[in-house]
Each structure stands twice: as C-alpha cells, then as structure tokens.
Amino acid sequence: MNEVPVTLWVNGQTYAVRVSPRKLLSDVIREDIGLTGTHVGCEHGVCGACTVWVDDRPTRSCLMFAIQAEGHAVTTIEALAQHGQLNVLQQALHEEHGLQCGFCTPGIVMTMEAYLHEHPNPTVDDIRDALSGNLCRCTGYQNIVAGVQKAARVFAQNSSGATSAAGNESTHLSEGGREYV
C-alpha cells in the first residue's frame, strides 16, 4: 500500500513509522504511535475530537496526513498532565463536572488550552464561540463553559507569564453578529 518512512516528533519524542501517505495524522497517532487520547469522531473536521497541536496551533488531526507533519512538532493530550498532575484547565473541567463520557474532552482541552493562552480574559460569549468547533453529546456544554471560566480565572491569578499571549491585541470582534435561531 505504497508505504513510506515518516519521522514524527510527538510530545518531544521522535517516532519513525512506515505508513501510506494517505494515512491521517489522527490514525497514525492512535495506531502507529499508540497514543489513544486523541479521539476520532467524524473525520471531516466538524466534531473537534481529534484536535492536537501542530507547532502549537490547534489543528484537526483528521484533516492532515501524517506525512505532512514531518518536520513539525505535534502535541497531543498526553503531554498536558505533568507527573500525573492534571493541568489547570483539566483540573477545572474535572471540578466543574465538564465531562461525562469524556469522548470530546481531549479535543476540548487541546482547543481551549490554546485559546486561553491567546485570549486571557474571555467573556462567556467568547468561550462559547471558541467551543463551537467541539461537539459534546453529553454535557449540554454548561459545565464545560464553567470549567473554562474557572481555568481562565486561575490563569489570570497566576498571570505572571502563564498567559503568554501570542497576539498582543484583543481579538474580540464585535462585528458581524451571527444570528441564532
């Protein structure tokens, strides 16, 4: 099946695998590297469960071929907890009961962790807007929003460096309001 050698750099470790160029990054992370925290729901970019970081940017791993990630740093959910200790966002989601079955949770953490670093003081509307790319079929989102808000408060308290915002201007846009029906 036209396999080629591919070298990936995942969570700071190098992995040499042989895969077909058509193999999705999500499948290689799960099947060839064995990191099953990255979940696969829809495989067309809609559900967000497969979100990882590529060069620190949240990215759908189902919309990227593993071979495209060569030369880039991939980070998965497994890298966030340190020494068995949940990170701030994970802990807040846990405390606020922001997950039930947990299928959506890795994608939500990878999305909102990046988002909070870039948008240190999000409003509830900002949080909901950023969350729109992650489907959760269990929680009804209320507790996820509460968890993200809690994490944002902790970030703000420790703000000395915790929020290394990549963009120094507020990206909150008041324009183009979407209608909800």
């Binding site: 058509r22 999705l24 949240p58 071979i67 183009g176 979407r178």
Partner: protein
C-alpha cells in the same frame, strides 16, 4: 471515511510546485490548509492521484500594504488575517469576516488561497473579494497572470484556475478611513457555513447623502455576486430606513437563491433582506466616523 491512495509531493519552491503540476496534469491537486480538500478526500468525493503540498512555500505567506491596497500571500491562514494589524487598519472588513470562517482550529490551518480556489458559494473571503473586486495573481510554469475576482468565480466550486496553476496572491484595495463598511452573515450555529451573507462599503458626502455604494451577497446564487448595477440609482440619496428598504428590494430583485434541506428559496430571500438592511445600517453609521482604535502607525509588513 479514509482517502484513496495517492502519491505525495512536498516541493520546496513555487517553481518546483508548478513543475510538478505541469507533469501531473489533471491527476495532480494542490493541498494548502486541507480544510476543504481533506474532508472531500476522506469522503472520496475527491481522489487525486498526486497531492502537491504547498505548505513549505513560506514565500506565499505575507501581508504587504502598498499605496492603494494590500497584497496577501495565498498561504496566509484565516487566523493570520483575523489578527492582522495592517488589515484592521487598511481593510478592516477582512479580519472581521475571517472570524466567521469555520471554527478556531479550522482557521489556524485554512488559507485565503484555498478559500478562493475552493469557491464555496457561502464562503466569506470570496464574498469580500467580489465586493471589493480584489485582484488575484495566478502562476503557472511559464506565465503569471492577474484576474479580477468578479471574473475568477465561474460557478459553485468552480473557478477559472487551471490544473497547472497556483493562486499566489490576493490583492484587496484599501477601504478609506471615512468609508463605512459592514459584513453580516446568517447561520444556524456558530461556525457553520453561512446560509446567506452580505457585505457593503459606503461613502457619504458632507450633506450625508450616499456618494459611493458597493454591495455583495453570498448564498444568493451559485457564486458570491455584486449587485452594484441593480442599486446604482440609489446613490445620491440619504440612507434612511425607507432608502434601505428600497435598496434591499432592488438588490434582491430577480434573484432566486437555491432551496435545499437547510432553507427554502423564500427563507433565503427573507434573510438576505434582513442582512442587507443590517449591512446598510452599519455602513452608514460607520461612514465619516473616525474609527476609534486606529493604531498610530501601520507596520511596513507583517511577518507571519
């Protein structure tokens, strides 16, 4: 939901990429952000034999202001448009609309070039390109040509791009500071493709009458359309509520948006009337008003 087999190429230069496309002909396909192409490949709606990955072509990632416009490299990501200080100052409708493309993670990866080339009839950036009549730069191995956005989009998912060509840049004109502008879209959920959208620029003279008016609609036809010709006769009047209603009526005259599982033709027409009214209102409020948070200077160029 797995793509068919293909051969992968990752050229390091534009020249190399164009050479590959020349060789692969109809079987080759460019991949930029992959946010439209990979879903189609996963569903086997697209089965390219060769995938030419242009993500290493860093020369295609830039936002350069010049006298009358801003050149944007085709590989510039939606998120980069959204955060650009240059665009916020010189063409603020672009970052404003870019925020409505898909979701946060989609915008980290999707590119302006991919958006134009994909030509979804509901997409935000093609709508702005038609509104502002942006100029597209298109390269092939032995030629570089320019084309206006109003000629580039041919039909749903169909543009004038040939299989051996790469879109390299999109040039937007500057929106003058005293010009009003607005973008609005209507969708069922945040992040979904818009069902309808509208974008407008407007200039008023010293007595408050409309001096210049551009209006473009998305979701009204197979491609984003400019309705400037239908509304030209309304220039010279004051933009009050009756005027807005008359403009919306003229703009939608003769249009027959598609009817599908998401919305009927009549729904789309009703929402278009609503969004047109909103963009006209907001543009007239913005016209002549100094924009509060203008940066003290515009960076020469942005490294992305």
């Amino acid at each position: 939901m797995k793509p068919a087999i293909f051969t992968y190429r990752r050229p390091a230069t534009l020249h190399e990429a164009l050479k590959l496309l020349e060789e692969t002909g109809d079987e080759g396909k460019v991949i930029a952000g992959g946010q439209s192409l990979v879903p189609m490949m996963n569903m086997r709606l697209a089965r390219p034999e060769y995938l030419v990955d242009i993500n290493d072509l860093d020369d295609l990632r830039y936002i350069h202001p010049f006298e009358e416009g801003i050149d944007i490299g085709s590989l510039t990501r939606h998120d980069e448009l959204e955060r650009s200080a240059i665009l916020r100052r010189l063409c603020p409708i672009v970052p404003t609309a870019a925020h409505f493309i898909g979701h946060y993670a989609i915008r980290q990866r999707g590119t302006i070039g991919g958006s134009m080339a994909h030509a979804d009839p509901a997409a935000e950036l093609p709508l702005l390109a038609v509104l502002l009549d942006a100029t597209l730069t298109i390269a092939s191995l032995d030629n570089t040509r320019s084309q206006t956005a109003r000629e580039f989009f041919l039909s749903m998912y169909t543009t004038d791009l040939q299989p051996n060509e790469i879109l390299t840049a999109v040039r937007f004109p500057v929106i003058p500071p005293d010009s009003g502008w607005s973008f609005k879209e209507f969708s069922r959920r945040a992040g979904d493709f818009a069902l309808v959208s509208a974008a407008c620029t407007m200039q008023l003279n010293s007595s408050g009458s409309v001096e210049q008016l551009h209006l473009a609609l998305g979701g009204a036809d197979l491609i984003p359309i400019s309705v400037d010709a239908s509304i030209a006769s309304f220039i010279g009047e004051r933009p009050d509520a009756r005027w807005r209603q008359a403009v919306a009526k003229a703009a939608l005259n003769d249009l027959e948006p598609m009817s599908d599982v998401h919305a009927s033709t009549q729904d789309r027409l009703d929402w278009l009337a609503l969004t047109v009214d909103q963009v006209l209102t907001q543009s007239s409020l913005r016209a002549n008003v100094e924009i509060g948070e203008q940066a003290s200077h515009t960076p020469e160029e942005e490294k992305l």
